[in-house]
């Protein structure tokens, strides 16, 4: 895992002092919230319905136990004893006092963490495959590139006021576990025929009110030119995006208006120019960073067998474990989706349990998934039973990865000042409806995603089943969508028809799911059946 040197540390500390000064000026009344807003938003501090919300970056979703213990401490000391993991691999605290924010940033700096560029019109925290460094199917660990790009995109002068936010995602496998093509700038690391490493580039994706799936602008950008290519993309967008309507300023809109071909042409022209400036970082710096990501010292000769005699454990194993590249090891997914609970929420005590497990059983590493779950990336198969027992005792052993109750939901009207409707209770009601493990298992992979408004923080466009909260004559109302995906079979969900109230949308989901169960062919997931029969095939069942 990357470690800060004196330079990284000095930059983060400078930001803390900067923010301390700005906060003091605000608290002393020398600034209005209007003036303070762009400053605090550069630092992940939002004013919400009840309190300030602080978003902390978890670069490429990687944490160590010291960092997670610090987050537990922050939850206990400055919040209400819990935190909320987000769909961009960050963590949010929803009950923060403004006067505490600078101290929290200081505490974060002590464990090499920060809130830089976690909100506002900036290049946001870079996300990556949460199985990076462990996945059996990856070409290489994508995190050295994510870290290099994190540094290069921190306080980039030319892009100090981008038209809108800009989200980057890096993966290195065929399977897309990070919703790469729903980002403004998606990268897939590939090898060409000569065995050289480079990037497939996918610009122009994004959710929000006008969703677009990123298109491929290049099959192969050589690895040491990727920063130049990124600058070219940013520059074309920064210069030519609209500035008159905040809802039309994301890069996806410019790509759409210019057309993919013209956008690519402009990027390539700028790219050729920027290459001549020599701003890419050298191999030596890449090597320095990559050295921090050398695989941990995996033991060899470990047993592959897992003792499945405890039936509850066997159920959990079948759902929560993914193949690891090293023999004798497994990737463990820790569900943060208890039935009826709030997805992504985790208490300080649970954080400490997971931190202990990471330290003892997973080379001190853990990951945050965009599905708002946690991952212990490197667990010996022989230790799985012990890990499961401790997770179970902490209420963290739900076996529902990618199943109907593994729901992504944004904070919605319970916390968010932009919301039209509540998301969390809808997620809870749906999970309760399908709580029976046998039913969940029978339904198989089914991704439900819920947003409380059109901003789409809950990824409803990418849900096999999506739910969108809308405001209808002052009452909460929900639209149902079908057919989205954030994976390598990426697609955008479509609205089924008229909306529902809260109880109605839960019933409608159930009708859609039952219909799937009736008409599915062997081996078909919900999304496969939907793609085969289309919306018409489901409408009748939903609206009767």
């Amino acid at each position: 895992m990357y470690k800060y040197d004196q330079y990284d540390d000095a930059m983060v500390r400078a930001r803390v002092e900067d923010f301390r000064d700005q906060t003091r000026r605000r608290l002393e009344g020398k600034m209005t919230d209007d003036q303070f807003k762009p400053l605090r938003l550069k630092n992940g501090l939002y004013l919400q319905l009840h309190a300030y919300m602080l978003r902390i970056a978890i670069p490429y979703g990687t944490l160590n136990s010291t960092q997670l213990r610090k987050l537990a401490h922050i939850a206990r000391t400055y919040d209400r004893g819990y935190g909320h993991f987000t769909t961009r691999q960050n963590i949010q605290f929803h009950w923060i006092k403004l006067e505490d924010a600078p101290d929290i940033l200081g505490e974060l700096a002590d464990v090499e963490m920060h809130c830089i560029q976690t909100s506002g019109e900036s290049i946001r925290n870079i996300s990556a495959d949460h199985y990076a460094g462990a996945a059996a199917d990856e070409i290489m660990d994508p995190r050295p590139w994510a870290e290099t790009l994190r540094q290069m995109t921190t306080f980039m002068p030319e892009f100090s006021y981008l038209p809108r936010k800009f989200k980057i995602c890096v993966i290195a496998a065929e399977e897309d576990r990070a919703a790469m093509r729903w980002h403004d700038f998606g990268l897939r690391i590939v090898k060409n025929e000569a065995g050289e490493i480079g990037f497939e580039v996918y610009p122009g994706g994004g959710m929000g009110r006008t969703p677009f799936i990123a298109y491929k602008s290049s099959d192969f950008v050589p690895q040491h030119q990727i920063f130049s290519y990124l600058q070219a993309v940013l520059r074309v967008w920064n210069r030519h995006a609209r500035r008159d309507n905040i809802h039309k300023q994301r890069m996806k809109i410019l790509v759409h208006e210019l057309g993919e071909e013209e956008f690519t042409r402009q990027v390539e022209e700028e790219f050729r120019h920027i290459l001549t400036l020599g701003t890419d970082f050298p191999q030596a710096e890449y090597d320095r960073i990559a050295a921090y990501f050398t695989p941990p010292p995996f033991e060899t000769g470990l047993p592959e067998e897992i003792d499945r005699s405890d039936p509850d454990f066997a159920v959990w194993i079948d759902q929560q474990i993914a193949p690891h590249k090293a023999p004798g090891y497994a990737i463990v997914n820790v569900s943060l989706k208890p039935i009826g609970g709030i997805g992504g929420d985790i208490t300080a005590e649970q954080m400490e349990v997971v931190a202990d497990l990471a330290e003892r059983y997973s080379f001190d590493e853990l990951r945050v998934a965009h599905t708002q779950n946690l991952v212990l990336p490197h667990v010996r198969k022989a230790d799985l039973y012990a890990v499961w027992q401790q997770l179970r005792d902490a209420g963290l052993a739900d076996a529902n990865l990618d199943l109907v109750t593994d729901i992504i939901a944004c904070p919605g009207l319970d916390y968010c000042s932009l919301a039209n409707a509540r998301s969390l209770p809808v997620a809870a009601r749906i999970a309760e409806r399908f709580a029976d493990p046998a039913v969940q298992h029978d339904l198989g992979e089914l991704k439900i995603k819920i947003s409380g408004c059109i901003n789409a923080c809950g990824h409803h466009h990418a849900g096999h089943i999506g739910i969108l909260g809308v405001d209808r004559k002052g009452t909460e109302n929900y639209q149902l969508l079908l057919g989205g995906s954030g994976a390598e079979d990426v697609s955008q969900a479509k609205i089924t028809g008229p909306g529902f109230d809260e109880a109605g949308v839960v019933d409608a989901v159930e009708r859609a799911v039952n219909h799937y169960r009736t008409i599915r062919e062997p081996g078909e997931r919900f999304i496969d059946t939907y793609r085969r029969v289309g919306m018409e095939g489901f409408k009748e069942a939903i609206y009767g």
């Binding site: 400078a14 762009p38 400053l39 006021y161 920064n238």
Partner: protein, 146 residues
């Protein structure tokens, strides 16, 4: 012009700046005003007679001027680049990095605030239009020629 914060030793051009179209038409003009949507690359053929470029920020949320200044410096322009309009003191550090060397915002900058803002960050992570050495280069003194 007490309200200008200037980081140059040469005498300031005293001619009022004209629009980009006017500048390209008038062969004796030396000062040009760039609006947020203007393409500074159109100045490439006439750089040698240019002494002052004013780049306007109609609102601080409009960051196009950062690219305009960067591109001018990449083209080899060494004269003055002045930021006008809605300029946030908290961004002047980054403006300096893009090649701005004077500031004449609508609301004059408080000199103490400006001083603090300019000295906020001890290092930089990437190359820009200034002479700052990026962190990656400090980490690799063996690559000093680069």
């Amino acid at each position: 012009m007490a309200d200008v914060l200037r980081f140059r030793d040469d005498a300031a051009a005293d001619e009022p700046a004209v629009s980009l179209d006017a500048f390209l038409d008038q062969t004796n003009a030396v000062s040009v005003r760039i609006e947020a949507g203007d393409d500074v690359r159109r100045l490439a053929p006439v750089l040698d007679r240019l002494r002052l470029v004013e780049i306007d920020f109609p609102k601080f949320r409009d960051g196009r001027g950062f690219s305009s200044a960067s591109i001018l410096r990449e083209m080899g322009y060494t004269g003055e680049i002045k930021a006008t309009g809605d300029v946030l003191v908290d961004l002047i550090f980054f403006m300096r990095r893009c090649g701005f060397d004077s500031f004449a915002p609508n609301v004059p900058l408080d000199p103490a605030d400006a001083e603090a803002a300019l000295n906020r960050y001890p290092y930089v992570y990437q190359h820009a239009a200034d002479a700052e050495v990026p962190i990656w280069q400090l980490r690799h003194p063996e690559l000093a020629n680069g």
